[in-house]
Symmetry: C2
Subunit: 114 residues, 2 copies
């Protein structure tokens, strides 16, 4: 068993207004997928670049929008979102508080931002 | 993109005091892993039976304990836990409020409780 408290994990800024904490990594023993917590500050957004693997997202705090291929959806705490491989997905904080979400990906796909 | 609100998903009781909501399933298009929300009511716990695949857990509300192989850890909102394949893991609500957590598993491993 491997356990970690979000507050004890160092955050890494990966884009202006966007930070990541790697909670469960393959280096921690994860057999096939990795868990991260992302925080987008007020006014911030991710780049929207697609990638050839899925994201599974669970929003834990805040309000936002996800702009995908031809659709934009509103999201808030308690929403789960599957972003398919190769799908455009810009995640935008549309509220006044930080937008926070868990994001799970297959092992080893984003090692460059560890 | 597939999105769902936790409140709109039907819960299924899988054990006395323990319910599950399947948020992102392979039937929804998930390529390799599935996301569920589990709720353990006050005084409740899971069975602890091990299984030959991993769980990745993120606690969203409440307080609990996880009894593993030779260790018991306390968990609370914001904690992430990797339960390894074949590892014993009884999850116990040790607080006064429901213990709620996201639990991700590889595709198709718990179809019997869908």
């Amino acid at each position: 068993m491997y356990a970690v408290k979000t507050n004890s994990v160092q955050k890494k800024v990966i884009h202006p207004g966007v930070s990541i904490k790697w909670l469960i990594k393959r280096e921690d023993g994860a057999p096939s997928f990795e868990m991260r917590l992302l925080v987008i500050e007020k006014g911030g957004s991710t780049t929207g670049r697609p990638h050839p693997f899925e994201h599974e997202v669970f929003v834990t705090a805040g309000k936002g929008k996800i702009a995908g291929d031809g659709e934009t959806i509103a999201v808030t705490a308690g929403d789960a979102i599957l972003i398919n491989p190769n799908e455009k997905h810009q995640i935008i904080n549309s509220g006044d508080e930080p937008l926070e979400f868990i994001c799970i990906i297959p092992n080893g796909k984003e090692d460059r931002i560890k």
